[in-house]
């Protein structure tokens, strides 16, 4: 045990790095944040708005509690937190060690660049001097030359050098003597002898006298550079700062494909008006070129017709990129929507895509908004671009093939390319140095079932370094990685920094607030278990509530479908059951809760036998018209009271039931889950050639359930491949709208095509017809490419209906949270605070939060646990200095301020009948003060009296 404060190195200051750093800092750990560029924020500092909100909410990442420790400002202006040391323009020099003891050295780019490494070249041959000078200068080294040892000594006396490259045989004083004399003048000078092959012995001798190394003539430029670079780096490493950290989070991000590399079919860099989406983002921004106007970058004329090309450097074998970059579709949806709505001049906004990947909870609806705004979406890939005719430059001609096979042509002022995400050079080097396991494309491959763990203990990874990621997944993954780092620091016996107020000799602040040191986790599926375990492992009591009689949730039926999931589930269940800090309550649900947020006292009650399990998570007293729960059994109440400071909603969800009427539920019609279970139980003979038709988006991505469930496409592909592996003559046809295989899951799509699975796209309103009777199913459809009516007799029809969240509004509201329009947990911010309610003490994970696969579920569970742990780790919270106060003498209890407060921070204390402020929820915005007519709601310095003074002061300043 040591009283050392835990410290984590975070590599990369993009949003993943910021998120991980803030989580660690809020938990009280120290963070060393290294960033190569000159600012934090990464890519996001170039994006004014994000999908699917068309707004920016980056500042919502800032912690809501202990706000005084963080600069309350837009993150574009910078980040500052007491516990985070931020080093921008800094390179990582080396990293060695093990969990609990990594030594890291890093160097600011501002000190010790190559221009600080002057080189002296001494040779009597001019050609050698000149060529050496040319090679080294090109690389940025300041070079001086001397044609004799004597001149060299003069130069050495005048100024200092880091490196001297000297010939051995020279007229006058020879190189070896020069070496001795030079070392007298400048003992730390690195001297490299240059010699002909014949004189190597002399060179070796010179090394005994202090030369660092030698080069054999004739030398090749690379060898010279490598030698000087090595000396430079060693010298630099001496200047580098060194530190010791317990854990490392790699958040170095990804880079964008450069469209001008390779065959460049779209003429990026050659054809004026072909830009990347990042360049277009700047054009859209008022801070970019063109200012408030949207103008052509070359001609300066207003832009009216814009085309977006998807999959540039993604899903393209020609650029060595078989994977999908996950985010580009939505970036283009956003840009086209913004262009169309911000600039009425834009008459044509047209997105050319292959599959519109609007996966996840809110994206599909966003794309519908874009369609409504008049953005045209064309399922076509444009093969190449040629510049328009110069003399009448009317635009860039774009030619494509529409789905019916007709060739179309249109002119566009701008073509916006959506380049894919690729691993960057830093990542490749780091992965190699640290021997991290990477995938075929160079992204770091996380360990299965351990989101963010690399093969190296103590080194965690998140964000773009693990593959193409959007903000939401990056932020979630970053919090999960922060949890892993916290676990390393805790097991190394490290401490957290507690509030400085506590130790100040000037006296203790008396307004500290503590949370009840425990967590209530509702839902015993894999999400709930993972969250419970992570919280309990950090030393906090957890009550885990499960409505059924067993743990595991959906993973129970899914376990055979996912490789390794069975034993993972078994391990997790055993760990939860064996944990001395976890109390498991099966066949139990939440009845009601008392107390204020953070100091909840929640009553758990057994699920009644008669109750349908599916409704059991509904708070009982609300479900039954206010009648008190059944306490009659045995005269003694079976209810349990639980005190907790945070709550994690992990109630999961289920496969949605098919929305459209099915033909008598014919024998061959299965839902995706039913089909999976039949496959897993060998109820289907995959060894014989089967005809199977799979239908995607059954009831999803349509009004009513207008989100993509994100899991059905990969599951269908998995099932199809399994059928094809069982018998190659099996005929599998997948009817789809857009195959949602973002990121690296694209490879399963390709595999399925290779295996001969037939994919048939359809549009809503033109759904294939499924009929069934005792003899089997029949599918009729029109193939859009062939333009022919097709028919298929199928042994099985499989309907992918997607996920239906299982969270009831009553349960969410019990803890001050709510449901979103799709019935999932309403996140405080879908991008920036993805696992929290507006109140950060209310968390959610798994598929009641958002649709996702096992990896995403585990990531959200660990992210939620990270939030819970960082809150519970604080013994006392001291409210911000600007926390709102109530002058009760003036308060009429009109509750206008309660309505106005965006954070539910104000409430009427039932005991005193006075208005109170929850100091941990209050963000000091002052909205209450503006709403209150009586001046009873006050926020330090942001109320009437000081504002009147300020107004007077500013108006009476001299001009």
């Amino acid at each position: 045990m040591t009283d050392q404060i835990g410290k984590t190195l975070v590599i990369g200051g993009g949003i993943s790095g910021i998120r991980a750093s803030l989580d660690l800092a809020q938990a009280g750990y120290q963070v060393l944040l290294l960033e190569q560029s000159d600012r934090v924020g990464g890519l996001l500092s170039q994006l004014d708005t994000q999908f699917p909100t068309s707004t920016c909410g980056m500042c919502r990442m800032l912690p809501m509690m202990e706000r005084d420790r963080v600069d309350q400002q837009c993150l574009r202006r910078g980040l500052s937190h007491d516990n985070i040391e931020i080093c921008v323009s800094t390179d990582l020099i080396s990293l060695k060690g093990d969990p609990g003891n990594f030594s890291v050295s890093f160097l600011s780019q501002t000190d010790g660049g190559r221009d600080d490494c002057p080189v002296l070249v001494v040779d009597d041959e001019k050609i050698v001097r000149d060529s050496m000078k040319e090679w080294l200068s090109e690389e940025g080294y300041p070079v001086q030359t001397a044609d004799s040892a004597a001149e060299a000594l003069n130069l050495l006396a005048e100024g200092s050098f880091k490196v001297m490259l000297t010939d051995i045989k020279m007229p006058g004083m020879d190189g070896v003597t020069l070496l001795t004399r030079a070392k007298e003048i400048q003992p730390d000078l690195a001297v490299v002898m240059m010699t002909a092959y014949a004189a190597v012995d002399t060179a070796v001798e010179a090394m005994k006298q202090g030369a660092l190394d030698y080069l054999v003539k004739p030398f090749d430029p690379d060898a010279v550079l490598q030698m000087v670079d090595r000396i430079f780096k060693d010298a630099v490493a001496e200047n580098a700062r060194k530190d010791t950290v317990d854990a490392v989070i790699l958040a170095s991000g990804a880079t964008f494909f450069q469209p001008n590399l390779g065959i460049n079919p779209y003429g990026y860099g050659r054809i004026p008006g072909v830009v990347t989406n990042l360049e277009f983002e700047r054009m859209l921004s008022h801070a970019g070129p063109g200012g408030m106007d949207l103008v052509h970058p070359v001609t300066g004329r207003p832009v009216t017709r814009i085309a977006w090309f998807q999959c540039v450097g993604s899903r393209d074998i020609q650029t060595g990129t078989p994977f999908c970059s996950s985010t580009c579709c939505m970036i283009s949806v956003k840009q086209s929507l913004l262009a169309k709505t911000m600039y009425p001049q834009v008459t044509e906004a047209c997105v050319f895509y292959m599959d519109l990947r609007t996966w996840g909870k809110a994206s599909d609806d966003y794309a519908r908004q874009a369609k409504k705004a008049g953005v045209r979406f064309v399922r076509a890939r444009v093969h190449s671009l040629a510049p328009g005719l110069k003399e009448n430059d009317t635009g860039i001609p774009v030619v494509w093939l529409d789905p019916s096979g007709d060739r179309r042509e249109s002119l566009f002022d701008l073509v916006v390319l959506a380049p894919g995400q690729h691993p960057d050079a830093f990542l490749s080097g780091f992965a190699k140095d640290q021997e991290l396991t990477t995938d075929d494309w160079g992204f770091v491959r996380p360990e299965p079932f351990l989101s963010g763990h690399t093969n190296r203990p103590g080194i965690f990874v998140c964000g773009g370094a693990t593959g193409p990621r959007d903000i939401h997944d990056s932020v979630t993954g970053a919090s999960a990685a922060a949890l892993s780092a916290m676990q390393v620091m805790a097991s190394a016996g490290r401490q957290t920094v507690q509030n400085p107020e506590k130790t100040e000799s000037t006296g203790l602040r008396s307004d500290g607030v503590s949370l009840f040191p425990g967590a209530l986790v509702i839902g015993g599926g894999i999400a709930g278990m993972a969250a419970a375990l992570a919280i309990a492992d950090q030393g906090f009591d957890v009550d885990l509530v499960e409505k059924t009689d067993h743990l595991g949730g959906n993973l129970v039926w899914l376990q055979t479908a996912i490789e390794g999931a069975g034993s993972f589930l078994e391990e997790q269940t055993a760990a939860v059951q064996g944990h001395d800090r976890i109390r498991i309550h099966t066949r139990t649900c939440v009845a009601d809760t008392m107390g204020r947020p953070g100091q909840w006292n929640t009553r758990l009650t057994p699920v009644k036998d008669t109750a349908e399990n599916t409704d059991a998570d509904r708070p009982e007293q609300l479900a039954e018209n206010g009648s008190p729960p059944d306490k009659s059994s045995g005269g003694k109440s079976p209810d349990v009271q639980v005190r907790h400071g945070v709550v994690v909603l992990a109630v999961g969800g289920a496969e949605a039931s098919p929305d459209r009427p099915l033909p008598d539920n014919g024998p061959g019609i299965y839902t995706q889950q039913q089909f999976q279970q039949a496959l897993d139980q060998d109820a289907i003979d995959t060894g014989s050639p089967l005809h199977v038709a799979m239908f995607q988006c059954q009831g999803s991505r349509e009004p009513g359930r207008d989100y993509c469930s994100r899991i059905c496409c990969p599951r269908s592909l998995d099932q199809a491949l399994r059928l094809k592996a069982g018998h190659p003559d099996s005929r599998v046809v997948i009817f789809y709208r857009d195959m949602m295989t973002p990121g690296l899951s694209e490879s399963a799509y390709t595999e399925a095509r290779k295996a001969g699975v037939v994919f048939v796209p359809y549009e809503p309103g033109n759904t294939p017809e499924l009929a069934a009777d005792n003899t089997g199913c029949r599918v009729n459809w029109t193939d859009p490419i062939l333009g022919r009516a097709m028919e298929m007799a199928a042994d099985y029809a499989v309907l992918a209906t997607g996920i239906q969240p299982g969270l009831s509004r009553d349960l969410a509201r019990l803890f001050g949270a709510d449901l979103d329009r799709s019935g999932f947990f309403d996140q405080a911010d879908i991008k920036w605070r993805p696992v929290e309610a507006m109140d950060p003490r209310v968390l959610a994970c798994g598929i009641c939060l958002e649709p996702g696969n096992l990896a995403l579920t585990l990531a959200s569970a660990r992210a939620a646990a990270a939030k819970a742990v960082s809150l519970l780790s604080r013994e006392t919270f001291f409210p911000g200095k600007d926390t709102a106060r109530v002058r009760s003498a003036f308060c009429s209890l009109c509750q206008i301020c309660i309505d106005a407060c965006p954070f539910n921070a104000r409430f009427i204390d039932p005991e005193t009948r006075t208005l109170k402020v929850d100091p941990l929820a209050c963000q000091g915005c002052g909205i209450c003060a503006a709403a209150c007519p009586s001046g009873a709601a006050v926020v330090t310095d942001r109320s009437l009296a000081p504002m009147i003074k300020t107004i007077h002061a500013v108006l009476n300043q001299p001009l």
Binding site: F890, S892, C894, P933
Partner: protein, 385 residues
């Protein structure tokens, strides 16, 4: 459901008194709130009466209006009392109470509101004149009733109707449980009551009344009143604009104001426990006054007069019920309500808000829509005032 009470002894007042007494006797009401004289003085104030034999001094209908009963209702209903209260209110009092319930200053659950057609009240000084010193006002009251409910009047004998009442755009009950339809009625014979809510129906059912109907002339009379009052409002609005259309003239308008804040004390929707202008929020250092005097050459005290009135306009801009109490209360005879009614009735149009119209209608400043008022955002749009 419309019921009818037969008028007894040609006295409408007596008939109504009996009606209230009946409620108390049958237990349909535990108490009634009715304007009443406390002694032989002519002044009437809302009185909470629990005993059926104490109704003889009540004046349910009459030209005296000294207190808006809205805030009194707020006092009586702030927390549950466990009893049924029947309140006899003027339309502007109902409006005030509805607004106060939205501000959580009261609750309707235990109240049955009987609202009446209210053609007018007299100003305070005119009322004094009208009532004289007479101990028995009953004949005058009956005469008044027979006059004002039969046709639009702008004055009763020599006494002009108060300005706020002259421009009142809703002289009939809105949002009451029971509406007493007096306008155009054959009041010497019967009084018609309409139940507007379940609670109202229950009350009328318990009173065991005969079936009635809306007076035939009532609708036409209401239309006439509306026309007349719209015109009166426009005239007042123009007059006010003329008198206060600039900061300079506003200064003049309020030049007699002594910052007594009576207007806000009697205002039924100025619900603050303590006005912010009475707190340290608007207290200045002596140097501040000197600095103003320096800036303008002089500074008249007390200051912040216009600041106070403009703030009050902002605070009650949507909720002013137009009862005219502020004018009645002003010691300096400033027609405060003329200004407030003219400004707020125009201002609230932007939010399509009418105070008292609907319990469920949220206060305009407590809610918002994501896409609204886009015309007031940005530069260069020369939007209309």
């Amino acid at each position: 459901m419309i019921a009818s009470i037969q008028t007894k002894d040609h006295s409408i007042t007596r008939t109504l008194q009996d009606f209230f007494a009946g409620m108390l006797k049958t237990g349909a009401a535990d108490a009634v709130l009715v304007p009443s004289r406390m002694s032989d003085s002519p002044y009437v104030k809302p009185c909470l009466i629990a005993s059926h034999d104490r109704l003889d001094r009540t004046v349910p209908l009459g030209p005296g209006f000294f207190v808006n009963a809205g805030p009194m209702m707020s006092r009586l209903t702030r927390t549950r009392a466990g009893s049924t209260l029947v309140a006899w209110l003027r339309p502007c009092e109902i409006r005030a109470f509805v607004e106060l319930t939205k501000l959580r200053q009261g609750a309707r659950e235990e109240v049955v509101i009987i609202g009446m057609d209210c053609p007018m009240a007299l100003s305070r000084t005119d009322y004094d004149d009208w009532a004289g010193q007479g101990n028995d006002m009953s004949d005058d009251v009956e005469k008044w009733i027979q006059t004002v409910y039969q046709k639009p009047v702008t004055q009763v004998d020599a006494w002009p109707v108060s300005r706020a009442c002259q421009v009142c755009d809703a002289p009939y009950p809105v949002n009451a449980d029971v509406s007493v339809m007096l306008l155009g009625g054959d009041l010497d014979r019967e009084i018609a009551l309409r139940a507007d809510t379940e609670k109202g129906e229950k009350l009328l059912a318990e009173m065991d009344l005969s079936e009635g109907q809306e007076p035939e002339r009532r609708k036409a009379l209401l239309a006439d009143l509306e026309t007349e009052r719209t015109e009166a409002f426009q005239a007042m609005d123009e007059e006010m604009l003329d008198q206060t259309g600039s900061i300079e003239s506003l200064n003049r308008f309020f030049s007699a104001c002594v910052n007594c804040y009576n207007c806000r004390s009697v205002c039924p929707v100025c619900y603050c426990k303590e006005c912010v202008f009475n707190t340290d929020a608007v207290a200045y250092a002596p140097t501040q006054y000197l600095s103003w005097a320096d800036k303008w050459g002089q500074v008249s005290l007390p200051n912040d007069t216009v600041f106070f009135h403009l703030t009050r306009l902002a605070h009650i801009g949507c909720t002013c019920v137009g009862c005219g109490q502020c004018t009645l209360a002003c010691p300096s005879h400033i027609p405060v309500s003329d200004l407030f009614i003219s400004v707020t009735r125009n201002a609230r149009k932007a939010f399509d808000y009418v105070p008292g119209r609907d319990d469920a209608e949220p206060l305009p400043l407590s809610v918002f829509q994501e896409s609204e008022f886009t015309d007031i955002v940005g530069m260069g749009n020369k939007e209309a005032t």
